[in-house]
Structure formats: C-alpha cells, structure tokens
C-alpha cells in the first residue's frame, strides 16, 4: 500500500525533455517495452517546452466510470490501476474519456495499460521509476509536507473540464493554485489556433 504521506508532484516548468522517464518506464519489468508516460512538446514552433503526463489518479476516475467491462479498479490508497487482463476488451472508452489522455490501449496486447504509480515499487516504499530517473525532478515523489520547501510553485489538485470538477491524487505544480486549470479542449479550438 502506498503511503498517504507521499505525493506525486509534476512540474512541467522543470521538464527538460530528456525522455528519461519514458525510457525508464518502458524498461520496467512488469510491462517491459511499453511506456505509460506521454512526453509532449507543447508548442514546437515557438518553444522547446515539454511536458510529461503521468496518471493523475482521480478521486472519481473517469476511465473506470466509462469502462463497460468493469476492468479498471482503484485500490484503497487511491491508486487507479491498469485494466485487469481477463476483463479488458480493448474498447478504448478509457483512452477517449480520460481528461489527461493517460490510458493507452496497446494493439498487440489488446489491453489498456496505464501509469499505476509503479505500484510494485511504491507499495514497498520505493519511489516510482520515472521519479527516480528525472534529472530535473520535474517528476517528484516526496513527502507532502516537504514540497513547499523544495519548490516555489504550489501543488494543484483540482481541475476543470468544462463544468466538470476533477480532483486528483497527484498534483501539478503551478504558480497560482487558487485558480483551477481549465482543461476544456474546446477552448483550444476557439482561440488557440
């Protein structure tokens, strides 16, 4: 069981795009060859900024809500796990419904795999693999009370998707945590392009 004291903090501002997290995730023995981490170039023409995406572990996991096969489960420490192989039907509902775009249905496996906070490691008190290799600690797994002293940014755990409020276990480090991040994709369509 993952300790409640520890939190996962994602700071896109610190990401240098080295892809160490992607590589280390793919090397993990439990899902060898399949990386669960998305590393995105945010605006490739104008900036070198990259952003890592790992599962935020929602309090009301939309992927699990939308699963027709009852394959996605959350353990009591709040970690949302990969789909259970005997149940998953690779329908991609979770992949389409996740507001963060985390789940991946692998065609060869016919199964959805997602970031499960390296449950095999964190349940034994170790840090997730990506957090151990991140050279700039953009991916930080640390006791919650230590974060304020380590970072200038503040953790944000509440997001807006249209009118839907999504609360998560993992946090994104932002300068102003009082204002929820609005992840509505239609905003990008109107003014972003």
């Amino acid at each position: 069981m993952v300790s409640e004291e520890y939190g996962f903090f994602i700071d896109p501002q610190r990401c240098i795009g080295c892809r160490s997290c992607v590589a280390s995730c793919a090397e993990c023995g439990t899902h060898r060859g399949h990386s669960m981490i998305h590393l995105d170039e945010l605006d490739r023409l104008a900036s070198t900024q990259t952003g890592p995406t790992v599962c935020m572990h929602c309090e009301d996991p939309i992927c699990a809500m939308s699963c027709p096969a009852d394959a996605i489960k959350r353990s009591e420490d709040g970690v949302v796990h990969s789909s259970q192989k005997p149940r998953c039907i690779a329908c991609q509902n979770c992949q389409l419904s996740c507001p963060f775009g985390v789940p991946i249905v692998f065609p060869g496996l016919e199964q959805m795999l997602k970031c499960d906070l390296c449950y095999d490691r964190t349940s034994l008190g170790q840090r997730p693999m990506c957090a151990t290799v991140c050279p700039s600690q953009a991916l930080l797994f640390a006791p919650r009370h230590e974060v304020a002293g380590l970072r200038g940014n503040k953790p944000l755990r509440t997001f807006l998707i249209g009118t839907l409020v999504v609360k998560t276990r993992n946090a994104i480090m932002v300068p102003d945590p009082e204002t929820p991040l609005n992840l509505d994709a239609s905003l990008l369509c109107d003014g972003g392009f």
């Binding site: 009301d60 699990a64 809500m65 009852d70 996605i72 489960k73 959350r74 353990s75 009591e76 796990h81």
Partner: protein, 174 residues
C-alpha cells in the same frame, strides 16, 4: 450513485463480495445440510407432512371377501395399504388362492386377470399366476405378492408387506 454502479464499484476493496473461500464454505455447508437432512429422513422414516396420515401404517392383515363369493377362475380387486395400493385376489382354476399387487413391474400399469394368467394391457406383458413371475412382454421382475389365508369362518384374509416372491428352493416362504 446510480444503482447499477454499486454492483460494479470502482474501488478494489468493495469489489469481491464473495471470495473463493466463502463460496467453498457455502457449498460445504449446503452439502452438509443435504447429507444431514437425508440422514435425518432415513432415521425418521415416517411420512412427511402432506402425505396421508395412513401412508406409513397399514393393517397387518385384511379381510377381503367371503370365499364362496369368488368362484373358481375369478378375480376380485381390493386395496390393501391405502386407496391407491390396488391389489388383486385370484381364485385360480386349480382352486388355489393368490393375491398380488396390481402394479405391473414394467411401467406401473394395472395388471388384470384374464382367466389364465395376469396380463398387462399397456405393453402386452404377462405374469403367471402361481408365483407372479413374468412370462411374456417387457416385464423382468415378478409382481409383489401377498399371503392369502382362508379362515375357518369363510372369509379370505391377506397379510404381508408385499415381499418380492422367490422361486422355490431359493429361500423365503414362497
């Protein structure tokens, strides 16, 4: 939360309502219950509720008819244990008395006396009258037989618990 969602909870802890161990325990208890119930019924060996009160007990002997009312070569139908236990009393042409349960040992039709032997009209089975053994048709087992006694007062009595007849020399009282 919608009703169906409580059947498919997101949380792993709420999911397993019935573990393998619980299922095995349930099956073991049900099996033990059946075994114990069968054992109890065997030891009790009385009619259950709903059966007629007279189902378990029957007269040790029964007065059927007067001997002079049944001429040679005729038969007389009577019931022995209860109204459904139909039997047949036969005054054979040789002057002997025989009584059998009417149930054919093939599929349970009522056998009848044709003056020579007992025949079953359903599948053309036939039983000889001396011991009730099958002599034609599909039946393979003999008819259940009652003991007949001609009392000095002129009445014909039957008694016995409908044993299976045996051939002479094989033991038994037939």
């Amino acid at each position: 939360m919608a009703g169906w969602k409580s059947l498919f909870p997101v949380d792993l802890a709420e999911e397993s309502r019935l573990s393998r161990r619980e299922f095995a325990r349930f099956m073991a208890l049900v099996s033990a219950g059946f075994t114990g119930g069968i054992g109890y019924l065997y030891l009790r060996r009385k009619p259950l509720d709903g059966a007629p009160a007279s189902a378990g007990d029957h007269p040790a002997e029964l007065k059927v008819c007067r001997a002079e009312d049944l001429a040679l070569g005729n038969s007389f139908l009577f019931t022995y244990r209860d109204a459904k236990d139909r039997c047949i009393l036969i005054h054979t042409p040789k002057g002997e008395w025989r009584a059998y349960r009417q149930t054919c040992t093939h599929l349970g039709c009522a056998v009848r006396w044709d003056g020579r032997r007992l025949e079953c009209p359903c599948h053309n089975g036939a039983f000889e009258v001396e011991l009730g053994f099958p002599v034609a048709g599909p039946p393979t087992r003999p008819l259940s037989r009652l003991n007949v006694e001609l009392r000095p007062d002129g009445w014909v009595w039957v008694h016995g618990d409908l044993p299976k007849p045996t051939l002479p020399g094989q033991g038994g009282d037939a």
